[in-house]
């Protein structure tokens, strides 16, 4: 008797907990999944930028094929369809993220800044295999495109 009561009570608690989780976070879960995907994309940017940037500042020797491959990765990453990455309710007011809600207040500008990155990455992919100086010459434009968006739409680290 006592045992079945414990099981019953446990089941009630479990159901209640599951209910709360579902009730509070159906939207949050989608937002958090988008946030995870955004971070993954940023990591891939950084990974490929890292090779080009390290070459540009002389930390690793220039290698035309590797530079070309990294630049093409960047161009491909920046051209991925992002429509599901930035759902409403995935800003800093809703979930753990540094994405400012200004993104959704000015989606046209946000999209324009993403286009600027796509152009800068394409320009790097045009020349990355042709020599170290070309890579050095394009790093500033890539950095400017990243910075323009971060300046406007990323909250400070707290």
């Amino acid at each position: 008797m006592k045992q079945s009561f414990t099981i019953l009570a446990g089941a009630v608690v479990a159901v209640a907990m599951a209910g709360t989780v579902i009730a509070q976070s159906d939207g949050d879960k989608a937002a958090e999944a988008a946030q995870d995907a955004r971070e993954a994309q940023m990591d891939l940017y950084a990974f490929n930028l890292g090779l080009l940037g390290d070459m540009a500042k002389g930390a690793v020797p220039y290698d035309a094929a590797a530079a070309q491959a990294a630049a093409e990765n960047l161009a491909a990453l920046s051209a991925l369809d992002q429509s599901r990455l930035w759902p409403e309710g995935s800003g800093e007011m809703s979930i753990e993220t540094r994405a400012k809600v200004d993104i959704w207040d000015d989606m046209d500008d946000f999209t324009a800044k993403a286009d600027d990155l796509m152009k800068a990455a394409a320009a790097m992919a045009e020349v990355a295999g042709t020599g170290l100086e070309a890579v050095q010459g394009q790093m500033g434009a890539l950095g400017g495109a990243c910075g323009a968006c971060h300046k406007a739409y990323r909250a400070p680290e707290s």
């Binding site: 940017y45 950084a46 990974f47 930028l49 890292g50 940037g53 540009a56 500042k57 002389g58 930390a59 790093m139 500033g140 890539l142 950095g143 400017g144 990243c146 910075g147 323009a148 971060h150 300046k151 406007a152 990323r154 909250a155 400070p156 680290e157 707290s158």
Partner: protein, 295 residues
């Protein structure tokens, strides 16, 4: 009776001293004698000085950063300051200023009509500038677009709204000596000039005391963000372990050694430093290595 007379006498003396202490102190009238402005050099001073970061409109990018219409808000414990219009408009901007007016503003914090400016305008750094650079900057500013946006009044409470009191503040805090006073190489000294004078790095990266004066013992050792969120990092060798090449690359592209990128106001600073030469960015990096390490 005699004591009372003494007390009154001392009070009058103190008031006179305070009035004298708080008086604006412009440069000598002939400070710029023999100096001619050069527009090309002036642009480099403009970029190194970061004028556009504060005096362009909020969110301005590209060519719009050269329209110095003002209006950006700067929060502080003393109130909110609004960057004024310093475009070449003769009425709303500073198109009517001579080079001497600009030098008094930047290097003494004194307006053409003899009032003190608030040190949200970093004359506390610009005081270390070369007069030639200010004259060159004056020539360059005249080539930028005019804009008729009126400047906003600062939102500052008592007693800080009494401009004359800033004279006492200046007496306490306005100094023209270098912070890093060690023997430096030519490159490091150039970096010091860019960082301590024009670039005014210390204004954000150093902490401030109760009255808003910079704490020089913790030069560039980081500070709370005056906007209220996050912190401005410690960039002394005690905390920043980036190489000279890393720092120079960051100032050009905004990329950290981990390939995160600068955001916030630092993205503005990078936009300015990207316009400078490689040699100047290297110089700032070399200087940072000579700053006293603070953990």
């Amino acid at each position: 009776m005699r004591i009372l007379r003494w007390i009154v006498g001392l009070a009058v003396l103190a008031a006179l001293a305070g009035w004298g202490l708080s008086a604006p102190r412009p440069l000598p009238d002939d400070a710029l004698a023999g100096l001619d402005g050069d527009v090309t050099r002036g642009k480099a001073v403009f970029d190194a000085g970061g004028c556009a970061s504060c005096h362009s409109a909020e969110g301005a990018e590209g060519a719009a950063r050269l329209v110095l219409s003002g209006g950006r808000a700067f929060a502080s414990p003393f109130g909110t300051f609004y960057a004024p219009n310093i475009s070449s408009d003769p009425e709303r901007g500073i198109g009517g200023w001579g080079a001497q007016d600009l030098a008094n503003a930047m290097m003494r914090g004194v307006s053409p009509d003899g009032a003190h400016y608030y040190p949200a305008f970093p004359y506390t750094s610009y005081i270390r500038a070369n007069l030639q650079d200010v004259v060159d900057l004056h020539a360059y500013l005249a080539t930028l677009p005019a804009d008729a946006t009126p400047s906003l009044a600062h939102d500052v409470g008592f007693p800080f709204n009494i401009r004359r009191s800033l004279g006492v503040w200046k007496w306490l805090y306005l100094r023209d000596d270098w912070i890093v006073a060690a023997e430096l190489t030519g490159e490091e000294a150039r970096g010091r000039y860019l960082a301590e004078a024009l670039g005014h790095c210390g204004e954000c990266h150093s902490p401030r005391g109760a009255l808003g004066g910079l704490v020089k013992a913790r030069w560039l050792a980081g500070a709370p963000n005056p906007s209220g969120r996050g912190t401005i990092p410690n960039i002394t060798p005690g905390a920043l372990d980036w190489s000279v090449a890393d720092i120079a690359a960051y100032l050009e592209t905004g990329f950290t050694p981990d390939y995160d990128s600068a955001g916030g106001h630092m993205a503005e600073v990078v936009a300015n430093f990207a316009q400078l030469t490689d040699a100047d960015r290297q110089a700032v990096a070399a200087y940072l290595k000579r700053v006293a390490p603070v953990e």
